[in-house]
Subunit: 438 residues, 2 copies
C-alpha cells in the first residue's frame, strides 16, 4: 500500500481519536453491537457468508442545533435491491442504510404503494371488514372513495399479489434471521457504525463481504468548528442579491482504507464510485481501488446506473455488467451474481491467513483465469488451485447444485464445509435477532 | 410599507423574471393551477374560508446534476397538524408541503406505524384472511412473526382503532373536498408553487388565509452559477484535513413581501419564525412582521415549540399560546383556534376593499379590544364595529352555535352569509378535486 494511502489512514484514525464517541450514539452503538455479534456468530455457526451493505446518503450539519444540513443524494435503491439478491443466495445481510431511504423488501412497497407515508399512501388504504386498515391498490382505493367501504370483498389485483409476495419474502428473511438492519442519518453516525460493523465482521474472515454503496459526504464542518445557533440570514442584507454566505468545509477523512488495513483485513471489499461525468468515472474508480485497498470498485454513471455498471479489479481488468433483457429484471441480479462469484473464488483461494488485497495474489491469478476462459475452463482453472481431495468434493457439490439449479444451497453447503475445516471449535450463539434500529 | 421592503420586493420580482419558469415545472404548474382554481371556486360557492398551509423545508442544489443539496430541517408537523385543525373548523385547506415530510392525517400513521415505508413499517404488516396486506400494531405483527398468520382474527387494539379513526377522518376530508395537496422538494419548485397558489388565492379576498410555516432556504446558488458536474473531492487532497471546499451562496430573494404587495393583498397572512436562540426570536419576529407585511408572526423556539409559541401583531401586541393541559392535546388546537378567531375578526371588519395590512386599521383596533377585554366584552367590542342588522344576525348565529357547541357549523354558516352578500353571481365549478402531486 502506498505511503499516501497510509497518510490517509492516519487522518482517518485521528478522526476517531479526536471525535470521542458522541454521547447520543453510546446507547445505540452498544445495543447494536450486541445484536451484531449474535447475528454474526449465528451465521458463522451455520457456515453462511455475510455481507454488510451500506446504502443511502449521509447528512452533515451546518449548525450544532441542526437547522441546515448538506445532504448527499442517494435513493439507497442499489443497496436495497442487492440485499434482497444476496439473501436469495444464502447470505446473511447487515443493512446499514440511511433512514427513510429504500430498504430491502420495503422498497417494493415504496414502488407499489408510495415512497412515503403521505397522502398518496393514505389513498391506497381501505377499511376492511374486521375494522382493520388494509393496503390496497389504486383501483381498490378509488372504489373505496365512494364511501368507507371494505376492500376485502373486492378482487385481489396483480399489484396486491406482488405486495403479498413481498411481505411473505420479508417474513421469510426475518424467520431465517437473514437480515439485520441499522439506520443512520448523519455522517458521524454512519462512520461510527461502519467502524463497529467492520470490526465485528472481522470474525467472518474471508466469508465476510463489505458492499459499500452509501453516498458518503466528502466535506463537513468538524464538530468543534460548528456554530451553536442558526446561521443568521440578515447579516449584510442590503435588499439585493449581492450579499450572501460563505461556507468553509473541511474534507472528511477517508475511512474506507481503514477497513482493509485495520478493521476487517480479510473481508472481501467492494466500493462504489458514482459520477455524473462519464469521462471522469473510470480514472476515479481506478484511483479509489488502489487508494482504499478494495477488491472491486463498481463504477456508476448517474443516468445509466440502472442499466449498466463497470467492475474494476486491482489487476487492471474491467468487466461490464448489464441488466438482463426482458420485463421485470433489475441490474442487481447480474451484479450480485458476479460479485458473489468473485467472493466465492476469494473464499476458495484463501486460508484466512492473507492480510488485505496485496497478500492475495492467487485470487488475482484465479480471477484472471475465470475471465479469460469460458465457463468450463474457468472451473478447471479454479480447481487447479485446490488440493485434489477438496477439488473432488467440490466437483461433487457443484454437480449436485447444477442439477438442482439452486446456487443458494450450493453456497451454503460449500461454506459450511469450509467453515467446518477452519473451525475453532466455538459454539455459535443461539437466538434470533431480527433488526436493530434507533 | 418601508422603502427597504419595497427594495426587497423588487429583488423578488426579478427572481421570477430572471429565472424563467423551469421546463420541468411547466406541466406540474399547469395541472395544479387548474385543480386549484376548481378547488377555490368550489369553496367560494359554498362560502367556506380557505387556508393555504406551507410546511416542511426546501432543498437547494449545489450542482446542476444534483448530487448534493443544502436542506432546511423541518418535520412539517406544525403545518400537518394545523391542517387537520383547520379542516375540523370548516376551512378548505391547500397543503403545500415538502415531499416525504409530515402531511395531514398521514402524520398519525407516521406516529403509530412508522415515519417511513421502511423495515419498521414492514414489521407492522400482517397477511389477512382474504390475502390482503393489513396494517396492525406491534403486538399483532409480533404474533404474526411466528409464521405468516392472519391478523384479522386477532384482537383490535387501541392503536388499531386510532388508525381506523384517522383513515375515516381522512376519507371524510376527501369526500367533503376539504384538502388539496401540492408537494415540493427544491426551493425553486416551492417559490413557483407559492406564487401560483397565492395569485389564485387572491379571488378569496379576506376569506383566504396564508399560513406560511415552511422552512425556506435563506441561501442558494442561482441556477446560472451552478456547476454542471459533481464537486470533485480530490482537488487539493494532501492526506490531511487542511484541504477542503469553500462555497459561496447568494441570498434567496425574500418573496413573502410579494404576497401582500401583489399576489394576494387581501388575504390574511401569517408567517413563522423559528430560532434556536430565544434571545433573538422576538426581535427577529417583529422585524419579519414589518418587513413582509404580515398580519401575525408566530415565534417558535426550536426546543419549546410543541409547548408554547408567541403571536406577534403589527400594533406591537403579543400573545403567548400554550398547549392545553392533559393527555392527547397538541398546541395546534389552541394556535389554530386563536388564528381562526383573528381571521374571523379580519373578515368581519373588511369589505374586501383594503389593500394590505396598512389599510386595515379597524382590524387592529378591534383586535386590541378583543385582547383587552374578557370574552363578553370582546364580543360586544366586536359588535360595535358592525351595523346593527349584521350584529343582530351574528348574535343569533353565535347563540345557536354556542348552544350546539359546534364552531365549524357556525363558521361555515357565517362565511356563507358573508359571501352571499358579496357574491358576484358566479356559479361555482362542480367536481371534486382530491389532491395534486408531482
Amino acid at each position: 500500500m502506498s505511503t499516501s494511502a497510509h497518510g490517509t489512514t492516519e487522518t482517518a484514525r485521528s478522526f476517531f481519536d479526536d471525535n470521542s464517541k458522541p454521547q447520543t450514539l453510546q446507547v445505540k452503538l452498544k445495543q447494536t453491537g450486541e445484536a451484531l455479534e449474535a447475528f454474526l456468530d449465528d451465521k458463522r455457526g451455520r457456515g453462511r457468508p455475510v455481507v454488510c451493505i451500506t446504502a443511502g446518503g449521509t447528512a452533515v450539519p451546518l449548525e450544532a442545533n441542526t437547522v441546515r444540513t448538506i445532504d448527499n443524494f442517494s435513493t439507497g435503491r442499489r443497496g436495497a435491491v442487492s440485499a434482497e439478491q444476496f439473501i436469495a443466495r444464502g447470505y446473511g445481510v447487515i443493512y446499514l442504510g440511511r433512514e427513510g431511504c429504500a430498504a430491502p423488501f420495503a422498497r417494493r412497497f415504496q414502488e407499489l404503494v408510495s415512497n412515503h407515508v403521505d397522502l398518496k399512501f393514505m389513498d391506497k388504504l381501505v377499511l376492511g371488514d374486521t375494522r382493520r386498515v388494509e393496503l390496497g391498490t389504486e383501483a381498490a382505493a378509488s372504489t373505496a372513495k365512494e364511501g368507507i367501504v371494505s376492500g376485502s370483498g373486492g378482487a385481489v389485483t396483480e399489484v396486491d399479489e406482488r405486495l403479498v409476495e413481498t411481505l411473505v419474502a420479508y417474513k421469510d428473511a426475518v424467520e431465517s434471521n437473514s437480515l439485520l438492519s441499522i439506520s443512520f442519518v448523519s455522517l458521524e453516525e454512519y462512520l461510527w457504525c461502519l467502524r463497529m460493523v467492520s470490526r465485528c465482521m472481522d470474525r467472518m474472515g474471508r466469508h465476510g463481504m463489505l458492499f459499500l454503496a452509501a453516498a458518503v459526504s466528502d466535506f463537513h464542518i468538524p464538530s468543534h468548528k460548528l456554530r451553536e445557533h442558526k446561521i443568521d440570514s440578515s447579516r449584510g442584507v442590503r435588499g439585493d442579491a449581492s450579499s450572501g454566505l460563505t461556507l468553509h468545509l473541511d474534507e472528511v477523512p477517508k475511512c474506507l482504507g481503514m477497513i482493509g488495513e485495520e478493521w476487517a483485513p480479510d473481508c472481501f471489499r467492494i466500493s462504489f464510485k458514482l459520477e455524473t461525468d462519464l469521462e471522469r468515472l473510470l480514472p476515479k474508480a481506478r484511483a479509489a481501488l488502489k487508494r482504499y485497498g478494495m477488491h472491486v470498485v463498481v463504477g456508476n454513471e448517474l443516468h445509466s446506473r440502472y442499466d449498466k455498471v463497470e467492475l474494476i479489479f486491482p489487476d487492471g481488468a474491467e468487466r461490464q455488467i448489464k441488466k438482463a433483457r426482458g420485463v421485470g429484471h433489475v441490474i442487481e441480479e447480474a451484479l450480485v451474481e458476479a460479485l458473489a462469484q468473485e467472493h466465492f473464488n476469494y473464499i476458495a483461494e484463501g486460508g484466512g491467513v492473507g492480510r488485505g488485497v496485496g497478500s492475495s495474489p492467487a485470487w488475482h491469478r484465479q480471477r484472471s483465469l475465470l475471465h479469460r476462459k469460458k465457463e468450463g475452463g474457468a472451473w478447471s482453472g479454479l480447481l487447479s488451485f485446490l488440493s485434489p481431495r477438496t477439488a473432488m468434493s467440490m466437483v461433487t457439490i457443484v454437480a449436485a447444485a447444477v442439477a438442482a439449479r439452486h446456487f443458494r444451497d450450493f453456497l451454503v453447503e460449500f461454506t459450511r464445509q469450509a467453515f467446518t475445516t477452519a473451525s475453532e471449535g466455538e459454539e455459535a450463539r443461539g437466538g434470533a435477532v431480527a433488526s436493530v434500529r434507533r
